[in-house]
Symmetry: C2
Subunit: 339 residues, 2 copies
């Protein structure tokens, strides 16, 4: 099959190629009657503008990029990214923007991808995930002037726009809830150290525990994987001063923690209460269902996409604070048993 071009439309309509371009792009320069005639013909012959030609003249690729730097085994199991992508897509599809996805091995590789995308003019902008403190990607994106939206924050994104939610407040709510139930020895299994949201949560945990006088609280670091979540839980639950409640930085580690408790013959929630972060469907698949810090991740992605498209269009909207995750109590939390 031969792809129809703008010239085919122009010939059929008896106008110039320029007129067709104006009509298709909603620009002034053609009469309304002509525009409608051209649009009808384009539809009839199944015309779609060649994206390469358009990119070459218009300088917009109509595509945005998302580079993910997590090992395959974590990417697969973490519902977060796919949910985020689903949300991003709803915005992008509506404006016929494509999403270019790339899985990278390291922050350096990710930076190389950005440089290549920029050089190839392959994308008009990018999403930046898993922001770190003093993130080396930020100055590169600023130097390239590649429009970018940081998913996460606040802060540490240089001049890049953030779409973020208040993790400190959410964590504080979870701890206060556990304390209201009567817990005093609360532990936290944190995500990868160095990631900004991990650090924000660690700091918030320290703060709220200090304020409430929970002096035996502790954070153990893990990498968001089930294996490390399990290991951290095993360590916590076999310590002399066993916590009565554990807050996890994602749902995968929380589920692994639940299995470890059951394995060790401890009841959940009778012996240990468990709170998960990120309330994917996973949390309701297990028994007992997990109390979780929930938020609408597809919406989060959609907001990020809106901001990125606005930045690309030259109307940056600045930072955006998304809803704060809120606690959904389920069967995995209860008052601690008297011991």
């Amino acid at each position: 099959m031969k792809r129809p071009t703008i010239a085919d439309v122009a010939r059929r309509a008896g106008v110039s190629k320029g007129a067709v371009s104006y009509a298709l792009n909603g620009q002034p320069g053609v009469s309304e009657a002509t525009r409608q005639r051209i649009l009808a013909i384009a539809r009839e012959i199944g015309f779609n503008p060649n994206s390469a030609a358009r990119a070459l003249s218009g300088a917009t690729a109509n595509a945005v990029g998302l580079a993910l730097c997590r090992p395959a085994r974590i990417l697969g199991i973490e519902p977060f990214y796919m949910e985020l992508i689903s949300g991003v897509e709803t915005e992008l599809s509506a404006r016929s923007y494509a999403l270019t996805l790339q899985v990278v091995e390291s922050p350096e590789a990710e930076i190389a991808v950005y440089r290549r995308w920029w050089g190839e003019r392959r994308v008009d902008g990018v999403f930046v995930c898993d922001l770190r403190i003093d993130d080396r990607r930020v100055p590169v994106l600023e130097e390239l002037r590649l429009p970018a939206v940081v998913i996460g924050g606040p802060g540490h994104g240089g001049g890049l726009a953030h779409v973020w939610s208040d993790d400190a407040a959410a964590l504080t709510e979870a701890v206060e809830y556990l304390v209201a139930l009567g817990h005093r020895r609360i532990a936290r299994v944190g995500g990868l150290p160095g990631l900004l949201h991990t650090e924000i949560r660690t700091e918030a945990f320290r703060t709220v525990c200090g304020r409430l006088g929970l002096d035996r609280s502790v954070t153990v670091s893990a990498d968001y994987s089930g294996e490390e979540g399990a290991r951290a839980t095993r360590r916590l639950l076999s310590s002399a001063d066993r916590p009565t409640a554990i807050v996890y930085d994602n749902d995968v580690m929380a589920i692994a923690g639940l299995a470890v408790a059951q394995e060790m013959g401890l009841g959940v929630p009778s012996d240990v209460s468990i709170v998960a972060w990120d309330d994917s469907a996973l949390c309701q698949l297990v028994h007992p269902a997990l109390t979780a810090l929930s938020r609408d991740i597809p919406a989060y992605g959609a907001h990020a996409a809106q901001r990125l498209l606005a930045a690309i269009a030259g109307n940056p909207l600045g930072d955006y604070q998304d809803e704060t995750a809120h606690l959904i109590p389920r069967g995995s939390t209860a008052p601690p048993a008297a011991r």
Copy 2:
């Protein structure tokens, strides 16, 4: 920053733009010495070919497409797709191919996406997932002559190349294993009816149960989600003629089934044995860990990508049968208790 173009490289090297193009693409037409000089300069000034310009003249977009038609809540929770994508990416990145991802709402929308991608020349080829019997996407892709690799099969892909694995054999192995343990009442919670791999498994289940004389075996249909997996399990376990073992079409439903059994006060594996399909890390997160039909999904994706790139290059390699999923026994299966 101004992006360097081929003209910048040519000027610096004191050669024509054509010579630079030949040098960069490994074509004959420049001496080895000149080629090296040109490559060094390109590297030095950070030149990357503009992908739009290249696509416009060369007719290749250096991108392939993947359209996924599953609701966000299932996409997020099913590790399969992300693992597949990870594997696809390893092949694509190695050849500087980009992956364009699109989440669609319906098979019709997916077909529209293919037509648009083709018309826009946005991708050089596509992956087709979740093949159905008499799949309407197949004739469209053939008509468009858009190179495509079907992930799944065998059969029902028209002239499109398949990368598939023998689900019938894997399912048979699982049932034979359960029978060897002593089970006679085996149920199956199947995936979405209409999907080819679901139908293949349903047929294989019927066949092996017939052969082994398991006349009370039954398949219940679900949609791969945890909710429906739980509902189906609840139905099966509350029936008078309760099965002693259940085989699930994915890991998410199996985990939901495990929770339901525990909820109902049934022991796993003492009262019910559970076998999951697709052995993601999830299966080892729960307690007891799930016996699963395991295969290397990133490798599956990588093979599909190799085939697609070959087809795009004009050297179609034909169908490819990937490894058959093999059973990994874990704690969720055991001989049935005497009743």
